[in-house]
Protein backbone atom coordinates (compact mmCIF):
# COMPACT_ATOMS: atom_id res chain seq x y z
CA UNK A 1 0.00 0.00 0.00
CA UNK A 2 1.49 3.36 -1.03
CA UNK A 3 -0.29 6.39 0.34
CA UNK A 4 2.08 9.18 -0.57
CA UNK A 5 0.38 12.34 -1.73
CA UNK A 6 1.66 15.93 -1.74
CA UNK A 7 -1.35 17.20 0.24
CA UNK A 8 -0.39 14.94 3.08
CA UNK A 9 2.76 16.52 4.46
CA UNK A 10 1.64 15.83 8.01
CA UNK A 11 2.24 12.18 7.32
CA UNK A 12 5.83 12.58 6.25
CA UNK A 13 7.82 10.22 8.40
CA UNK A 14 4.68 8.87 10.04
CA UNK A 15 4.52 5.15 10.76
CA UNK A 16 1.37 3.49 9.45
CA UNK A 17 0.12 0.35 11.20
CA UNK A 18 -1.97 -2.32 9.55
CA UNK A 19 -3.84 -4.52 11.98
CA UNK A 20 -2.84 -8.16 12.04
CA UNK A 21 -5.90 -10.24 11.24
CA UNK A 22 -8.15 -10.30 14.26
CA UNK A 23 -11.76 -11.08 14.71
CA UNK A 24 -12.86 -9.86 18.11
CA UNK A 25 -16.15 -8.42 19.32
CA UNK A 26 -16.37 -4.68 19.97
CA UNK A 27 -15.36 -1.66 17.98
CA UNK A 28 -12.29 -0.85 15.91
CA UNK A 29 -11.51 2.61 14.61
CA UNK A 30 -8.71 3.92 12.45
CA UNK A 31 -7.05 7.00 13.92
CA UNK A 32 -4.27 9.34 12.84
CA UNK A 33 -5.46 9.37 9.23
CA UNK A 34 -5.64 13.15 8.81
CA UNK A 35 -3.03 14.05 11.41
CA UNK A 36 -0.71 11.38 12.78
CA UNK A 37 -0.29 10.94 16.50
CA UNK A 38 2.97 12.53 17.69
CA UNK A 39 4.55 10.15 20.16
CA UNK A 40 6.66 11.25 23.12
CA UNK A 41 9.61 9.41 21.53
CA UNK A 42 9.48 11.91 18.65
CA UNK A 43 8.08 9.41 16.17
CA UNK A 44 4.73 9.80 14.49
CA UNK A 45 2.07 7.13 14.22
CA UNK A 46 -0.76 6.87 11.73
CA UNK A 47 -2.95 5.65 10.43
CA UNK A 48 -3.39 3.09 13.20
CA UNK A 49 -6.22 1.10 14.76
CA UNK A 50 -7.62 1.30 18.27
CA UNK A 51 -10.05 -1.32 19.58
CA UNK A 52 -12.53 -0.59 22.33
CA UNK A 53 -15.64 -1.96 23.95
CA UNK A 54 -18.64 -0.15 25.40
CA UNK A 55 -21.36 -1.06 27.90
CA UNK A 56 -24.57 0.82 28.68
CA UNK A 57 -26.05 3.71 26.72
CA UNK A 58 -24.71 7.19 26.06
CA UNK A 59 -27.38 9.67 27.19
CA UNK A 60 -28.75 12.48 25.00
CA UNK A 61 -26.36 15.17 26.25
CA UNK A 62 -23.41 12.76 26.25
CA UNK A 63 -22.69 13.45 29.89
CA UNK A 64 -22.74 9.96 31.41
CA UNK A 65 -19.55 8.45 29.96
CA UNK A 66 -17.10 6.63 32.20
CA UNK A 67 -13.74 5.66 30.76
CA UNK A 68 -12.36 2.52 32.38
CA UNK A 69 -8.60 2.18 31.88
CA UNK A 70 -7.20 -1.33 32.00
CA UNK A 71 -4.02 -2.51 33.68
CA UNK A 72 -0.84 -4.02 32.18
CA UNK A 73 -2.33 -7.32 31.10
CA UNK A 74 -5.98 -6.29 30.97
CA UNK A 75 -7.93 -5.40 27.86
CA UNK A 76 -11.16 -3.82 26.66
CA UNK A 77 -13.30 -6.80 27.66
CA UNK A 78 -13.89 -5.55 31.20
CA UNK A 79 -17.43 -6.77 31.74
CA UNK A 80 -18.15 -9.72 29.47
CA UNK A 81 -16.94 -13.24 28.85
CA UNK A 82 -13.50 -12.90 27.33
CA UNK A 83 -13.60 -13.87 23.62
CA UNK A 84 -10.30 -15.75 23.84
CA UNK A 85 -10.06 -17.21 27.33
CA UNK A 86 -13.75 -17.72 28.01
CA UNK A 87 -13.22 -16.27 31.52
CA UNK A 88 -15.42 -13.58 33.02
CA UNK A 89 -14.35 -9.97 32.39
CA UNK A 90 -11.60 -8.60 34.64
CA UNK A 91 -13.96 -6.05 36.24
CA UNK A 92 -17.19 -8.06 36.04
CA UNK A 93 -17.84 -7.36 39.72
CA UNK A 94 -17.52 -3.59 39.20
CA UNK A 95 -18.95 -2.83 35.77
CA UNK A 96 -22.51 -3.94 35.04
CA UNK A 97 -26.16 -3.52 35.83
CA UNK A 98 -26.60 -2.36 39.45
CA UNK A 99 -22.89 -2.70 40.12
CA UNK A 100 -20.64 0.15 41.37
CA UNK A 101 -20.14 1.34 37.77
CA UNK A 102 -23.79 0.87 36.89
CA UNK A 103 -24.30 0.30 33.19
CA UNK A 104 -28.00 1.15 33.63
CA UNK A 105 -26.91 4.68 34.47
CA UNK A 106 -23.53 5.21 32.80
CA UNK A 107 -22.00 4.64 29.38
CA UNK A 108 -18.80 2.71 29.98
CA UNK A 109 -15.92 2.78 27.51
CA UNK A 110 -12.90 0.52 27.80
CA UNK A 111 -10.09 0.93 25.28
CA UNK A 112 -7.32 -1.55 24.54
CA UNK A 113 -4.11 0.43 25.12
CA UNK A 114 -1.83 1.47 22.30
CA UNK A 115 0.90 -1.16 22.15
CA UNK A 116 -1.55 -3.83 23.28
CA UNK A 117 -2.48 -7.06 21.56
CA UNK A 118 -6.30 -7.14 21.54
CA UNK A 119 -6.81 -5.14 18.37
CA UNK A 120 -5.13 -1.82 19.15
CA UNK A 121 -1.95 -1.04 17.26
CA UNK A 122 1.02 -2.89 18.71
CA UNK A 123 4.19 -4.78 17.81
CA UNK A 124 2.23 -7.77 16.48
CA UNK A 125 0.67 -5.62 13.73
CA UNK A 126 1.90 -5.30 10.17
CA UNK A 127 4.24 -2.62 8.93
CA UNK A 128 2.79 -1.95 5.46
CA UNK A 129 6.17 -0.68 4.29
CA UNK A 130 7.72 -4.11 4.78
CA UNK A 131 4.64 -6.28 4.78
CA UNK A 132 5.96 -7.89 7.95
CA UNK A 133 5.05 -7.69 11.59
CA UNK A 134 6.73 -4.86 13.45
CA UNK A 135 8.28 -6.68 16.37
CA UNK A 136 10.77 -4.34 18.00
CA UNK A 137 10.58 -1.87 15.10
CA UNK A 138 7.24 -0.72 16.52
CA UNK A 139 7.83 2.71 18.09
CA UNK A 140 8.17 2.88 21.85
CA UNK A 141 5.03 4.12 23.52
CA UNK A 142 4.43 5.88 26.85
CA UNK A 143 1.45 6.37 29.16
CA UNK A 144 1.16 9.85 27.62
CA UNK A 145 0.84 8.27 24.15
CA UNK A 146 -1.67 5.69 25.39
CA UNK A 147 -3.87 8.44 26.81
CA UNK A 148 -3.42 10.67 23.76
CA UNK A 149 -4.77 7.80 21.64
CA UNK A 150 -7.67 7.33 24.09
CA UNK A 151 -8.48 11.01 23.77
CA UNK A 152 -8.79 10.57 20.00
CA UNK A 153 -11.37 7.83 20.63
CA UNK A 154 -13.31 10.10 23.02
CA UNK A 155 -13.18 12.91 20.41
CA UNK A 156 -14.45 10.46 17.81
CA UNK A 157 -17.36 9.46 20.08
CA UNK A 158 -18.28 13.16 20.35
CA UNK A 159 -17.90 13.22 24.13
CA UNK A 160 -16.97 16.72 25.29
CA UNK A 161 -16.39 15.76 28.89
CA UNK A 162 -16.00 12.34 30.47
CA UNK A 163 -18.06 12.10 33.63
CA UNK A 164 -15.43 9.87 35.15
CA UNK A 165 -12.10 8.21 34.37
CA UNK A 166 -11.07 5.29 36.52
CA UNK A 167 -8.76 2.30 36.59
CA UNK A 168 -6.38 0.34 38.78
CA UNK A 169 -2.59 -0.04 38.67
CA UNK A 170 -1.44 1.02 35.19
CA UNK A 171 -5.06 2.10 34.72
CA UNK A 172 -4.54 4.55 37.58
CA UNK A 173 -1.51 5.99 35.78
CA UNK A 174 -3.75 6.68 32.77
CA UNK A 175 -6.35 8.28 35.05
CA UNK A 176 -3.71 10.63 36.47
CA UNK A 177 -2.43 11.42 32.99
CA UNK A 178 -5.99 12.24 31.86
CA UNK A 179 -6.60 14.50 34.85
CA UNK A 180 -3.27 16.25 34.41
CA UNK A 181 -3.21 16.67 30.61
CA UNK A 182 -6.89 17.07 29.83
CA UNK A 183 -8.49 18.44 33.03
CA UNK A 184 -11.30 20.11 31.08
CA UNK A 185 -12.32 16.79 29.58
CA UNK A 186 -12.73 14.99 32.93
CA UNK A 187 -15.25 15.64 35.69
CA UNK A 188 -14.02 13.13 38.23
CA UNK A 189 -10.98 10.88 38.44
CA UNK A 190 -10.62 7.68 40.46
CA UNK A 191 -7.07 6.30 40.40
CA UNK A 192 -7.03 2.97 42.24
CA UNK A 193 -3.88 1.28 43.62
CA UNK A 194 -1.72 3.58 41.52
CA UNK A 195 1.26 5.87 41.62
CA UNK A 196 2.39 9.09 39.99
CA UNK A 197 5.63 7.41 39.01
CA UNK A 198 6.87 3.88 38.64
CA UNK A 199 9.15 3.05 41.58
CA UNK A 200 12.65 1.61 41.30
CA UNK A 201 11.35 -1.64 42.81
CA UNK A 202 8.64 -1.88 40.17
CA UNK A 203 11.04 -1.11 37.31
CA UNK A 204 13.23 -3.88 38.73
CA UNK A 205 10.39 -6.42 38.65
CA UNK A 206 9.54 -5.40 35.10
CA UNK A 207 13.14 -5.84 34.05
CA UNK A 208 13.10 -9.39 35.43
CA UNK A 209 10.02 -10.09 33.32
CA UNK A 210 11.53 -8.60 30.20
CA UNK A 211 14.78 -10.48 30.65
CA UNK A 212 12.81 -13.72 31.03
CA UNK A 213 11.19 -13.05 27.65
CA UNK A 214 14.36 -11.90 25.94
CA UNK A 215 16.36 -14.88 27.20
CA UNK A 216 13.89 -17.28 25.62
CA UNK A 217 15.64 -18.53 22.44
CA UNK A 218 12.27 -18.46 20.69
CA UNK A 219 12.01 -14.72 21.20
CA UNK A 220 14.58 -14.11 18.38
CA UNK A 221 14.97 -10.38 19.00
CA UNK A 222 11.23 -10.00 18.73
CA UNK A 223 10.95 -11.55 15.24
CA UNK A 224 9.07 -14.69 16.19
CA UNK A 225 5.69 -14.13 14.60
CA UNK A 226 6.30 -16.30 11.56
CA UNK A 227 7.72 -19.15 13.60
CA UNK A 228 5.99 -22.19 14.98
CA UNK A 229 7.54 -21.64 18.40
CA UNK A 230 6.60 -18.47 20.28
CA UNK A 231 8.58 -17.23 23.30
CA UNK A 232 5.95 -18.70 25.58
CA UNK A 233 8.37 -20.01 28.17
CA UNK A 234 9.86 -16.56 28.72
CA UNK A 235 6.47 -14.85 28.75
CA UNK A 236 5.11 -17.41 31.16
CA UNK A 237 8.02 -16.92 33.59
CA UNK A 238 7.52 -13.14 33.32
CA UNK A 239 3.88 -13.62 34.25
CA UNK A 240 4.72 -15.94 37.15
CA UNK A 241 7.20 -13.46 38.63
CA UNK A 242 4.78 -10.57 38.17
CA UNK A 243 1.90 -12.52 39.66
CA UNK A 244 3.76 -12.88 42.96
CA UNK A 245 3.97 -9.10 43.19
CA UNK A 246 0.21 -8.81 42.79
CA UNK A 247 -0.48 -10.82 45.93
CA UNK A 248 0.55 -10.49 49.55
CA UNK A 249 2.47 -12.88 51.75
CA UNK A 250 -0.54 -13.40 54.01
CA UNK A 251 -2.91 -13.96 51.07
CA UNK A 252 -0.54 -16.56 49.65
CA UNK A 253 -0.46 -18.28 53.02
CA UNK A 254 -4.21 -18.10 53.39
CA UNK A 255 -4.84 -19.54 49.93
CA UNK A 256 -2.00 -22.04 49.56
CA UNK A 257 0.04 -22.31 52.70
CA UNK A 258 2.50 -25.18 52.25
CA UNK A 259 -0.21 -27.46 50.86
CA UNK A 260 0.94 -30.08 48.36
CA UNK A 261 -0.56 -30.46 44.90
CA UNK A 262 -2.14 -33.87 44.13
CA UNK A 263 0.26 -35.73 46.39
CA UNK A 264 0.79 -36.62 49.99
CA UNK A 265 4.59 -36.35 50.04
CA UNK A 266 7.13 -34.11 48.39
CA UNK A 267 8.71 -35.64 45.30
CA UNK A 268 12.33 -34.98 46.20
CA UNK A 269 12.59 -33.49 42.73
CA UNK A 270 11.54 -30.40 40.89
CA UNK A 271 7.97 -31.14 39.99
CA UNK A 272 5.29 -28.72 41.14
CA UNK A 273 5.03 -30.26 44.62
CA UNK A 274 3.38 -27.27 46.23
CA UNK A 275 0.01 -25.85 45.32
CA UNK A 276 1.53 -22.39 44.93
CA UNK A 277 3.93 -23.73 42.28
CA UNK A 278 1.14 -25.40 40.40
CA UNK A 279 -0.95 -22.23 40.64
CA UNK A 280 1.84 -20.04 39.27
CA UNK A 281 2.55 -22.46 36.42
CA UNK A 282 -1.12 -22.39 35.54
CA UNK A 283 -1.11 -18.58 35.61
CA UNK A 284 1.92 -18.50 33.32
CA UNK A 285 0.57 -21.11 30.88
CA UNK A 286 -2.85 -19.56 30.52
CA UNK A 287 -1.41 -16.06 30.10
CA UNK A 288 0.53 -16.93 26.94
CA UNK A 289 -2.70 -17.93 25.20
CA UNK A 290 -3.93 -14.37 25.20
CA UNK A 291 -0.88 -12.16 25.38
CA UNK A 292 1.90 -11.20 23.01
CA UNK A 293 5.44 -11.24 24.42
CA UNK A 294 6.51 -8.09 22.56
CA UNK A 295 3.41 -6.27 23.79
CA UNK A 296 4.45 -7.21 27.31
CA UNK A 297 7.86 -5.60 26.71
CA UNK A 298 6.33 -2.41 25.29
CA UNK A 299 3.65 -1.92 27.93
CA UNK A 300 5.93 -2.64 30.90
CA UNK A 301 8.31 -0.04 29.43
CA UNK A 302 5.48 2.49 29.17
CA UNK A 303 4.85 2.03 32.89
CA UNK A 304 8.55 2.33 33.73
CA UNK A 305 8.81 5.65 31.94
CA UNK A 306 5.79 7.11 33.76
CA UNK A 307 6.78 9.97 36.06
CA UNK A 308 4.19 12.71 36.23
CA UNK A 309 6.25 15.01 38.46
CA UNK A 310 9.29 14.85 36.16
CA UNK A 311 7.37 16.75 33.49
CA UNK A 312 6.62 19.47 36.05
CA UNK A 313 9.99 20.41 37.56
CA UNK A 314 9.76 17.41 39.88
CA UNK A 315 6.86 19.03 41.73
CA UNK A 316 3.88 16.69 41.48
CA UNK A 317 1.46 19.40 42.61
CA UNK A 318 2.30 21.37 39.46
CA UNK A 319 0.76 18.57 37.41
CA UNK A 320 -2.63 19.55 38.84
CA UNK A 321 -2.52 23.35 39.15
CA UNK A 322 -5.98 24.99 39.18
CA UNK A 323 -7.67 21.66 38.58
CA UNK A 324 -11.46 21.39 38.82
CA UNK A 325 -11.37 17.61 38.62
CA UNK A 326 -12.84 15.83 41.65
CA UNK A 327 -10.47 13.09 42.75
CA UNK A 328 -11.08 9.94 44.72
CA UNK A 329 -7.99 7.84 45.41
CA UNK A 330 -8.23 4.31 46.73
CA UNK A 331 -5.38 2.13 47.93
CA UNK A 332 -5.12 -1.22 49.71
CA UNK A 333 -3.29 -1.88 52.98
CA UNK A 334 -1.49 -5.04 51.82
CA UNK A 335 -0.49 -3.71 48.37
CA UNK A 336 3.31 -3.62 48.36
CA UNK A 337 3.62 -3.06 44.61
CA UNK A 338 1.70 0.22 44.64
CA UNK A 339 1.64 0.88 48.39
CA UNK A 340 -0.67 3.41 50.04
CA UNK A 341 2.27 5.79 50.45
CA UNK A 342 2.23 6.31 46.67
CA UNK A 343 -1.44 7.29 46.76
CA UNK A 344 -0.83 9.48 49.79
CA UNK A 345 1.85 11.40 47.88
CA UNK A 346 -0.70 12.16 45.19
CA UNK A 347 -3.24 13.21 47.85
CA UNK A 348 -0.68 15.58 49.38
CA UNK A 349 0.08 17.09 45.97
CA UNK A 350 -3.63 17.54 45.32
CA UNK A 351 -4.12 19.12 48.75
CA UNK A 352 -1.29 21.51 47.96
CA UNK A 353 -3.21 22.85 44.96
CA UNK A 354 -6.52 22.90 46.80
CA UNK A 355 -8.06 20.16 44.66
CA UNK A 356 -11.21 18.35 45.73
CA UNK A 357 -9.88 15.00 46.85
CA UNK A 358 -11.13 11.96 48.72
CA UNK A 359 -8.80 9.19 49.78
CA UNK A 360 -9.49 5.81 51.33
CA UNK A 361 -7.09 3.05 52.23
CA UNK A 362 -9.07 -0.18 52.17
CA UNK A 363 -8.18 -2.80 54.74
CA UNK A 364 -7.51 -6.12 52.99
CA UNK A 365 -4.87 -8.83 52.78
CA UNK A 366 -5.36 -9.38 49.03
CA UNK A 367 -2.42 -7.24 47.93
CA UNK A 368 -2.29 -5.26 44.70
CA UNK A 369 -4.85 -7.55 43.04
CA UNK A 370 -7.49 -6.38 45.53
CA UNK A 371 -8.92 -3.99 42.93
CA UNK A 372 -9.88 -7.01 40.81
CA UNK A 373 -11.32 -9.07 43.65
CA UNK A 374 -14.47 -9.18 45.73
CA UNK A 375 -13.81 -6.37 48.20
CA UNK A 376 -17.17 -5.11 49.50
CA UNK A 377 -15.61 -2.12 51.28
CA UNK A 378 -13.92 -1.04 48.06
CA UNK A 379 -17.13 -1.52 46.07
CA UNK A 380 -19.15 0.57 48.51
CA UNK A 381 -16.66 3.46 48.36
CA UNK A 382 -16.52 3.31 44.58
CA UNK A 383 -20.28 3.23 44.10
CA UNK A 384 -20.85 5.86 46.80
CA UNK A 385 -18.40 8.33 45.31
CA UNK A 386 -19.56 7.81 41.73
CA UNK A 387 -23.28 7.97 42.60
CA UNK A 388 -22.83 11.13 44.67
CA UNK A 389 -20.83 12.78 41.86
CA UNK A 390 -23.47 11.70 39.33
CA UNK A 391 -26.24 13.18 41.51
CA UNK A 392 -24.32 16.46 41.63
CA UNK A 393 -23.91 16.41 37.84
CA UNK A 394 -27.61 15.55 37.35
CA UNK A 395 -26.80 12.32 35.55
Amino acid sequence: MTTVSNSNNAHEGSIPVEPAVIDLPGHNIVLGEQVPLSLVSGQKLGPFTISYQTYGKLNADRSNAILVCHALTGDQFAAEVHPITGNVGWWNMVVGSELPIDTDRYYVICINVLGGCMGSAGPRDINPKTGKQFGLSFPLITITDIVAAQKLVIDYLGIEKLFCVTGGSMGAMQVLEWASKYPHRVSCAIPIAGAARHSAQNIAFHEVGRQAIMSDPDWRNGNYYENQELPNRGLSVARMAAHITYMSDSALHRKFGRELQDRTNVSYGFEADFQIESYLRHQGNSFVERFDANSYLYITRAMDYFDLAAEHDDVLANAFLNTDVKFCLISFTSDWLFPSSESRQIVHALNAVGASVSFVEVNTDSGHDAFLLNEPEFFSILSGFIAAAADQSNI
Partner: protein, 211 residues
Protein backbone atom coordinates in the same frame (compact mmCIF):
# COMPACT_ATOMS: atom_id res chain seq x y z
CA UNK B 1 -32.95 14.79 49.31
CA UNK B 2 -32.93 12.17 51.99
CA UNK B 3 -29.24 12.53 52.83
CA UNK B 4 -29.60 16.27 53.34
CA UNK B 5 -32.50 15.89 55.73
CA UNK B 6 -30.66 13.21 57.62
CA UNK B 7 -27.68 15.51 58.03
CA UNK B 8 -29.90 18.34 59.19
CA UNK B 9 -31.50 16.09 61.81
CA UNK B 10 -28.17 14.77 63.04
CA UNK B 11 -26.85 18.30 63.28
CA UNK B 12 -29.86 19.40 65.33
CA UNK B 13 -29.17 16.56 67.75
CA UNK B 14 -25.61 17.71 68.25
CA UNK B 15 -25.72 21.16 69.83
CA UNK B 16 -21.98 21.62 69.46
CA UNK B 17 -22.04 20.94 65.72
CA UNK B 18 -25.01 23.26 65.23
CA UNK B 19 -23.09 26.00 67.04
CA UNK B 20 -20.02 25.40 64.89
CA UNK B 21 -22.18 25.60 61.77
CA UNK B 22 -23.60 28.92 62.98
CA UNK B 23 -20.10 30.41 63.09
CA UNK B 24 -19.46 29.70 59.41
CA UNK B 25 -20.36 32.13 56.64
CA UNK B 26 -22.17 30.74 53.60
CA UNK B 27 -20.07 30.00 50.55
CA UNK B 28 -16.79 29.87 52.46
CA UNK B 29 -13.97 27.33 52.19
CA UNK B 30 -13.99 24.90 55.10
CA UNK B 31 -11.70 22.12 56.30
CA UNK B 32 -13.19 19.83 58.97
CA UNK B 33 -10.45 17.91 60.77
CA UNK B 34 -11.72 14.74 62.39
CA UNK B 35 -14.95 14.99 60.41
CA UNK B 36 -16.28 11.61 61.60
CA UNK B 37 -19.11 10.36 59.40
CA UNK B 38 -19.19 13.70 57.60
CA UNK B 39 -22.44 14.94 59.19
CA UNK B 40 -21.27 18.50 59.84
CA UNK B 41 -19.50 18.76 56.50
CA UNK B 42 -22.50 17.41 54.63
CA UNK B 43 -24.73 19.90 56.41
CA UNK B 44 -22.37 22.77 55.58
CA UNK B 45 -22.07 21.74 51.92
CA UNK B 46 -25.84 21.49 51.44
CA UNK B 47 -27.16 24.25 53.67
CA UNK B 48 -24.32 26.76 53.64
CA UNK B 49 -22.97 26.00 50.17
CA UNK B 50 -19.42 25.79 51.49
CA UNK B 51 -16.52 24.33 49.52
CA UNK B 52 -15.89 21.63 52.11
CA UNK B 53 -12.98 19.26 52.74
CA UNK B 54 -12.44 16.77 55.52
CA UNK B 55 -9.77 14.70 57.22
CA UNK B 56 -10.73 11.62 59.22
CA UNK B 57 -8.66 8.89 60.81
CA UNK B 58 -11.20 6.05 60.92
CA UNK B 59 -11.82 4.10 57.75
CA UNK B 60 -15.48 3.73 58.63
CA UNK B 61 -15.87 7.51 58.91
CA UNK B 62 -14.04 8.13 55.65
CA UNK B 63 -16.12 5.54 53.81
CA UNK B 64 -19.38 7.06 55.02
CA UNK B 65 -18.20 10.57 54.14
CA UNK B 66 -16.99 9.63 50.67
CA UNK B 67 -20.25 7.78 50.03
CA UNK B 68 -22.04 11.06 50.74
CA UNK B 69 -19.95 12.63 47.98
CA UNK B 70 -17.73 14.56 50.37
CA UNK B 71 -14.07 15.29 49.69
CA UNK B 72 -12.63 13.52 52.70
CA UNK B 73 -9.18 11.98 53.00
CA UNK B 74 -8.03 9.35 55.42
CA UNK B 75 -5.35 10.98 57.49
CA UNK B 76 -4.17 12.49 60.68
CA UNK B 77 -4.28 16.13 61.82
CA UNK B 78 -0.72 16.06 63.07
CA UNK B 79 0.77 14.60 59.86
CA UNK B 80 -1.34 15.88 57.01
CA UNK B 81 -1.93 19.58 57.67
CA UNK B 82 1.56 20.56 56.53
CA UNK B 83 0.70 19.71 52.93
CA UNK B 84 -2.00 22.33 52.65
CA UNK B 85 -0.99 25.75 51.37
CA UNK B 86 -1.32 28.81 53.61
CA UNK B 87 -4.72 30.51 53.65
CA UNK B 88 -6.30 27.61 51.76
CA UNK B 89 -9.44 27.84 53.90
CA UNK B 90 -11.66 30.46 55.51
CA UNK B 91 -12.39 28.12 58.42
CA UNK B 92 -10.57 25.13 59.80
CA UNK B 93 -12.62 23.12 62.28
CA UNK B 94 -11.13 20.95 65.01
CA UNK B 95 -14.07 19.47 66.93
CA UNK B 96 -13.43 17.55 70.14
CA UNK B 97 -9.96 16.52 69.01
CA UNK B 98 -7.44 18.88 70.62
CA UNK B 99 -7.47 16.85 73.83
CA UNK B 100 -5.99 13.86 71.98
CA UNK B 101 -3.27 15.73 70.12
CA UNK B 102 0.39 15.48 71.12
CA UNK B 103 1.73 18.64 69.50
CA UNK B 104 -0.91 21.15 70.57
CA UNK B 105 1.02 24.31 69.73
CA UNK B 106 2.18 22.98 66.36
CA UNK B 107 -1.33 21.92 65.44
CA UNK B 108 -2.90 25.24 66.47
CA UNK B 109 -0.26 27.07 64.44
CA UNK B 110 -1.03 24.89 61.44
CA UNK B 111 -4.78 25.48 61.79
CA UNK B 112 -4.24 29.22 61.59
CA UNK B 113 -1.64 28.97 58.85
CA UNK B 114 -3.93 27.13 56.45
CA UNK B 115 -7.12 28.84 57.69
CA UNK B 116 -8.14 32.45 58.24
CA UNK B 117 -10.15 31.24 61.22
CA UNK B 118 -9.98 28.20 63.41
CA UNK B 119 -12.99 26.78 65.22
CA UNK B 120 -11.86 24.66 68.13
CA UNK B 121 -14.11 22.77 70.55
CA UNK B 122 -13.12 20.62 73.51
CA UNK B 123 -14.42 19.25 76.82
CA UNK B 124 -13.76 21.39 79.89
CA UNK B 125 -11.73 19.87 82.70
CA UNK B 126 -12.83 22.82 84.84
CA UNK B 127 -16.47 21.65 84.78
CA UNK B 128 -17.73 21.38 88.36
CA UNK B 129 -18.67 17.71 88.25
CA UNK B 130 -15.22 16.87 86.95
CA UNK B 131 -13.60 18.87 89.73
CA UNK B 132 -15.82 17.23 92.36
CA UNK B 133 -14.99 13.76 91.11
CA UNK B 134 -11.37 14.37 91.81
CA UNK B 135 -11.82 16.43 94.96
CA UNK B 136 -14.50 14.39 96.74
CA UNK B 137 -14.17 10.89 95.30
CA UNK B 138 -10.48 11.00 94.53
CA UNK B 139 -11.15 9.40 91.15
CA UNK B 140 -9.99 10.46 87.69
CA UNK B 141 -12.87 12.47 86.34
CA UNK B 142 -15.42 11.07 83.94
CA UNK B 143 -18.38 12.89 82.46
CA UNK B 144 -20.63 12.71 79.43
CA UNK B 145 -17.97 14.63 77.51
CA UNK B 146 -15.07 12.78 79.12
CA UNK B 147 -16.57 9.29 79.01
CA UNK B 148 -13.40 7.22 79.20
CA UNK B 149 -11.76 5.55 82.12
CA UNK B 150 -8.26 6.93 82.66
CA UNK B 151 -6.69 3.77 81.25
CA UNK B 152 -8.87 3.62 78.11
CA UNK B 153 -8.91 7.26 77.18
CA UNK B 154 -7.50 8.53 73.86
CA UNK B 155 -7.31 11.92 75.57
CA UNK B 156 -3.81 12.92 76.57
CA UNK B 157 -4.40 16.62 77.26
CA UNK B 158 -6.57 17.79 80.13
CA UNK B 159 -7.25 21.49 80.17
CA UNK B 160 -9.89 24.05 81.02
CA UNK B 161 -11.54 26.97 79.25
CA UNK B 162 -9.21 29.34 81.11
CA UNK B 163 -6.14 27.30 80.13
CA UNK B 164 -7.07 27.59 76.48
CA UNK B 165 -7.63 31.35 76.68
CA UNK B 166 -4.19 31.72 78.24
CA UNK B 167 -2.53 29.58 75.54
CA UNK B 168 -4.26 31.45 72.72
CA UNK B 169 -3.08 34.75 74.23
CA UNK B 170 0.44 33.45 74.64
CA UNK B 171 0.49 32.33 70.99
CA UNK B 172 -0.79 35.71 69.85
CA UNK B 173 -4.15 34.50 68.56
CA UNK B 174 -7.31 36.58 68.73
CA UNK B 175 -10.43 34.96 70.19
CA UNK B 176 -13.50 36.29 68.38
CA UNK B 177 -16.18 34.20 70.00
CA UNK B 178 -16.53 31.78 72.85
CA UNK B 179 -19.62 29.67 73.26
CA UNK B 180 -19.87 27.67 76.45
CA UNK B 181 -22.25 24.73 76.67
CA UNK B 182 -23.59 23.46 79.99
CA UNK B 183 -24.67 19.91 80.83
CA UNK B 184 -28.22 20.63 79.62
CA UNK B 185 -26.84 21.58 76.22
CA UNK B 186 -27.64 25.25 76.71
CA UNK B 187 -25.20 27.43 74.86
CA UNK B 188 -24.17 30.88 76.02
CA UNK B 189 -22.01 33.22 73.96
CA UNK B 190 -19.28 34.87 76.01
CA UNK B 191 -16.80 37.65 75.49
CA UNK B 192 -14.37 36.18 77.97
CA UNK B 193 -14.12 33.21 80.32
CA UNK B 194 -15.01 34.20 83.88
CA UNK B 195 -14.63 32.03 86.95
CA UNK B 196 -18.22 30.80 86.83
CA UNK B 197 -18.14 29.97 83.14
CA UNK B 198 -15.14 27.75 83.76
CA UNK B 199 -17.13 25.97 86.53
CA UNK B 200 -20.36 25.54 84.58
CA UNK B 201 -19.28 24.80 81.01
CA UNK B 202 -19.09 21.12 80.13
CA UNK B 203 -17.55 22.03 76.79
CA UNK B 204 -16.80 25.13 74.76
CA UNK B 205 -16.25 26.31 71.21
CA UNK B 206 -13.76 29.01 70.28
CA UNK B 207 -13.55 31.04 67.09
CA UNK B 208 -9.95 32.19 66.64
CA UNK B 209 -7.85 34.03 64.11
CA UNK B 210 -4.20 35.00 63.80
CA UNK B 211 -4.85 38.70 64.31
Amino acid sequence: MVTNNMSAEKIRDRVDLQLVADMIKSGSRVLDIGCGDGDLLNYLVHFKQVDGRGIELSQEGVNKSVSLGLAVVQGDAEDDLKNYPSDAFDYVILSQTLQSIYDVRGTLNELLRIGQHAIVSFPNLGYWRVRFDLLIHGRSPMSEKLPYKWCDSPNIRFFTLTDFVALAGEMGFVIHRIVSINHRGHATPKNSVGIWTNWLAEEAIYLLSRD
